[in-house]
Amino acid sequence: MIVVEDLCVRVGTKFILKDVNVEIPTNTWTCLVGPNGAGKTTFLKALLGVTPYSGSLRDNGVEVFRNHQRNVAFVPQHPNIPVGMTVAEYVMLGRSKRDGWGRESTSSRQLVHSILELTQLFGLHRQFVTSLSGGEMQRALIARALAQEPELILLDEPTSALDLHHQIATLNNVEVLKEKGVTIVSTMHDITLAAMYAERIVVIHEGKKLLDGPSQSVIHSPELKEAFDNRINVFTLDSGRPVIVANKEN
């Protein structure tokens, strides 16, 4: 369980996040939604432990800031793509914390092999990461996160650069982690996809939390519309699945 109390993040005098209180239960998928600049990425970085904050942010009772002991995987929206590194090496970086930098144990080798097959990167694994397409790079990122065998995985817009088919494929690969007891926190612009995968949704607007709760109730709430200036419409398909689309007229 991650407990966030009165979380504030400031840059100079400007609050990026202000008085955020939320609880993220273990082994659930929680999705942060909100317009651009709402503070979603900052919230993820605070959860990772790299961004200084005031208030408290405890993961299983331990304050997370600069805590290197935790095993958290982070999938950024804009990764730095290293030159001269093969896909297999890139994915193997995920084992560094367990095996030690530059080492690879036999068990890690087997794990990475199976992850490469799962993410359909086997066969590409001797190519350089710089030669990958956008979709392949996103799979490599997810593969590296899987190789970490994390307790918590943070994903910043994991689907933003992908076509519809690859969006589903990527999110399915992440969903596998839930069977292993992993807690998943992601940001996603596509609220329809968020509702499909996440059990819980947290709505953030201008650095404040407007609402959090089970996906289905948040999707149909007035706070979600408010966060997007009432410029979204929520429809329900015959199957009961909600679909969120932008509203052209005001």
Partner: protein
């Protein structure tokens, strides 16, 4: 899911030690060449016999030439080459900038200012302290660069820019001093172009301590440097403290560079050419190969010094001229080849 059997080869061929072995062989051959060739040629076998103390070793003038002139000079060239090449490779990783070179953070300009102060001072005692002055100057310049850029590693580019500003400032003072003391023009100029003529065992002794310590530190953290090629959030999640790692890497690389500069003046291009050469030939991340880069850097400078000694014999060319003359076209060749082959 089918798992590979236990004997499956490594998925990720991190580094082939055969390349390191070849680099070692190259260094060995180049060192023997450096000892043997020159205005007076010395027999290979006799050199080896003298070095291992076997019967039939050199005597008289040749022995003095080998042990007190060529050997310290070749060793110093090797040390300086290794220091510059390794720190160049490390700076390129730390700043994620393929054009970063060891003189980037104001080290060169600071060391140049220190050297000019020593040369222009009227006391002969101070002139003999030139290496110390340039060393202190180089380290001070880097510290000022760190200090000015404030939150130095939050944004590596701000560190780079403040390095450029500090460097220009130090160069301005140095040029002023140089113009005030016109008699100093020639020694300052030849120092700036780099020289190994003053090499002796004393210089080799103190510079080898700092350079070898710095290279050992850099090689010991080299595998973690791979993590710095990712974003800071990613490297943090992989168990690295990116800022601390950068500080350690930059300080060790600065120690190596400042020592090299104070021992031999400003020798350009080694820090850029050698890492790119190794990277261009092997197509690999350079961090894995710091030991190889050190050895190739050493070989490169020993060869360049051999050229400096022999091309205009008995006169000497500044070694910096050779490294730039060979280095620049070669660099363009590697760049072009990389662009063609990706």
């Amino acid at each position: 899911m089918k798992l590979p059997n236990q004997s499956s080869p490594p998925l990720s061929r991190m580094w082939s030690w055969r390349i390191t072995f070849v680099a070692g062989l190259i260094l060995l051959v180049v060192v023997v060449m450096g000892l043997s060739f020159g205005p007076i040629a010395i027999n290979f076998q006799k050199i080896l016999r003298t070095l291992v103390g076997a019967p039939g070793s050199l005597t008289g003038q040749e022995r003095t030439l080998l042990l007190y002139l060529r050997l310290p000079r070749v060793i110093l060239a090797g040390l300086v080459g290794a220091a510059l090449a390794t720190s160049g490779a490390v700076y390129q990783s730390v700043f994620r900038n393929p054009l970063a070179d060891p003189y980037l953070l104001g080290t060169a300009a600071g060391a140049g200012l220190g050297a000019t102060l020593a040369i222009t001072s009227s006391h002969a005692n101070i002139y003999s302290l030139l290496p110390l002055f340039s060393f202190v100057g180089g380290v001070l310049a880097v510290l000022v660069t760190f200090f000015i850029s404030g939150r130095f590693f939050a944004e590596p580019n701000s560190l780079l820019l403040s390095g450029i500003a500090v460097g220009s400032f130090a160069t301005a003072i140095q040029t002023y001093l140089q113009q005030r003391h016109s008699s100093a023009l020639r020694p300052v100029y030849s120092w700036i172009l780099g020289e190994l003529t003053a090499a002796n065992w004393t210089i080799v002794r103190w510079s080898s301590v700092y350079i070898l310590i710095a290279i050992a530190i850099l090689i010991s953290i080299s595998k973690q440097l791979d993590g710095l090629m990712l974003s800071d959030e990613e490297s943090f999640s992989l168990g690295i403290n990116p800022n601390r790692l950068r500080v350690i890497a930059v300080l060790a690389a600065t120690l190596a560079t400042a020592t090299a500069v104070s021992a031999s003046g400003l020798i350009g291009f080694v820090g850029i050419v050698v890492p790119h050469l190794v990277r261009g030939i092997t197509h690999r991340v350079t961090n894995r190969s710091l030991a190889t880069i050190a050895m190739i850097g050493a070989s490169f400078l020993v060869l360049a010094d051999l050229g400096a000694r022999t091309l205009l014999s008995p006169a000497e060319l500044p070694i910096g001229v050779i490294t730039a003359f060979v280095g620049a076209p070669f660099f363009l060749f590697v760049l072009r080849r990389k662009r063609v082959t990706g």
